[in-house]
Amino acid sequence: MSIIEAAQNPDGGWPYEPGRGSWTEPTVFALLSGVGSGLSASSLKRGFEWLRASQNSDGGWSPQPKTGPSTWVTALAALLPADVLGEGNHRRSVKWLLEQTGQESNMAYRIRQWMLGNQNLSFGAEKGWSWYPGAAAWVMPTAISLVALRREQATRPSDVVRERIQSGTQYLLLHACKEGGWNHGATHALGYEAGAYPETTGVALLALRGVKAPEVDRGIAQAETFYQDPRAAGAAWLRLGLEAQGRHVHADSPPAHPRKFNILDEALYRLSENPDVLLA
């Protein structure tokens, strides 16, 4: 039995750390890392049952069942293959994703900011996704949503999904850091240029697979620089991002010093060893 399977809760979900309650995010990553290998059939069955049972009536997922409204973790669930998650469950999750945007792309908000003299305002077509309803769009939820919609478009193409992929892609390109790569999404504030993070650079490159743009080229260069540090934080995301951009990188071993076991980190590491789960 793998250490991920051993950490599965009796309810079928996974916690962030063993012994805690089940959350949507580690459950999805545990399942993604275990689809095809790593988890037994019964573990997968219980995991998917937990996930299906915790889907909200609006089609989305909360971070933890009954923990507030549906949020960005819906995009994570939508990464799972529809035939395993359930065609109906998957279709409703995509519908929920298509209804979401960051508050800053609301036209009333943009006009108000323009009247207040906001210098960094954009009236472009870009539309990202927020971590939580009612807040602005950020890089990580936008990138994960884009990966989910690209997979959807590959199997069930539609104009509405294609348009949203375009506007989400625009969001990521506009929020690239000047030096290359991506941080959480605030690239400049009060006169300073903010630097990139490894984890968000990796996930953005994964989302921008197949996109030709200078921002992507600079992002690849930044990711390769980050990855030179064998213990770089976010190394799993970097590897996934670089693989998505056709850069085959050596699989790094987990951090040399002992770390508290965290299901999310472990599952991400395994996923980075088998990127085809997301790239196929």
Partner: protein, 309 residues
């Protein structure tokens, strides 16, 4: 008059109700201790501050909440590990039943890597066994009875809610949205990222000053030791530059501690919205007088109006 000045002035003039219920009736005792550098003396100083405030810790569950923000080699973004460890050791030596260090960084998800880069692994023995990532902790819903912000409820980590005493151990820094980040603003780090994301942008949309006030009212019994040995001036809380103030400031009334820190930094606390709305009553200063340690922290132009005088 700037918007923030107007808010602060109107709060004072109209005596708006204070969001927190912890306003002290007696003068608030605030300690200022000169500490020129991060040496072993920090351990004695922290113990002395605890004794000055007769902290009753025996048998209690204590959470030490540092300010862990960003990978940084200049020692001025994150709370110095020696100060965190000194607070941790002082609580243990005074008989706490359990002491945990707990933090939920606002931008970075790689909390343990952040802690390692900040020197916490090197300073705190078996750091991982003593640490809780508040971003990934299990959570419970808390209603905000008289919200100052647009929130009327919020999920908080069970580690914080189960604590008998939460000790805020922030860095003394300027802040480019609210003027200064000290013991109260440090509680943004108890908001769980697993629910609200990285950054916890919901708090910005609900009003930053107002959320600081709401969180202060929600976190159970509190004490604070502010790391002002080397703080941050200019474009804080991340892009500023180191500023040596050479002090640790402690007390149980967080608005009064923050008010005192502002005076040390050359900032008028009555012009910092969340402090103006929460700080009440007199302050009993012990230790060094403010005049002896006061040193102006550089302010970005947007906050130049906060300067004392």
């Amino acid at each position: 008059m700037h918007r923030r000045e107007m808010l602060a002035a109107s709060a004072a003039a109209l005596s708006l109700p204070v969001a927190c219920s912890k306003a002290p009736r007696k003068p608030s005792r605030i300690s200022i201790v000169q500490v020129p550098d991060y040496t072993q003396d920090v351990y004695d100083v922290v113990r002395r501050i605890f004794q000055q405030h007769a902290l009753n810790i025996a048998g209690k569950r204590v959470v030490v909440k540092p300010n862990l923000v960003e990978f940084d080699k200049t020692t001025c973004v994150n709370t110095h590990p020696l100060v965190v460890h000194a607070v941790y050791e002082a609580a243990k030596s005074m008989g706490a039943a359990d002491v945990r260090i707990a933090e939920g960084p606002g931008h970075r998800r790689t909390t343990m890597d952040l802690a390692e880069a900040a020197g916490y692994y090197d300073t705190v023995a078996k750091f991982e066994d003593s640490f809780t990532d508040l971003n990934l902790d299990d959570v419970s819903l808390r209603r905000i009875s008289s919200p100052a912000s647009k929130l009327n409820q919020i999920y908080l980590p069970n580690t914080i809610l189960a604590a008998d005493l939460v000790i805020s151990v922030p860095k003394m820094k300027t802040h480019h949205w609210v003027g200064a980040t000290l013991s109260m603003k440090n509680f943004f780090g108890v908001v769980p990222g697993a629910v609200y994301g990285w950054p916890k942008n919901v708090l910005h949309w609900a009003g930053i000053d107002e959320c600081i006030m709401d969180l202060h009212g929600l976190v159970p019994m509190t004490f604070t030791v502010v790391d002002g040995i080397v703080g941050m001036e200019g474009n804080g809380p991340i892009q500023g530059t180191p500023k040596r103030a050479g002090v640790l400031v402690g007390g149980s009334d967080l608005p009064s501690v923050d008010s005192t820190c502002c005076r040390i930094m050359g900032i008028d606390p009555a012009k910092v919205v969340y402090i103006a709305k929460t700080q009440q009553g007199a302050i009993e200063q012990i230790g060094e007088p403010i005049s002896k340690v006061q040193t102006n922290f550089q302010l970005i132009s947007q906050f130049s109006h906060l300067r004392v005088g």
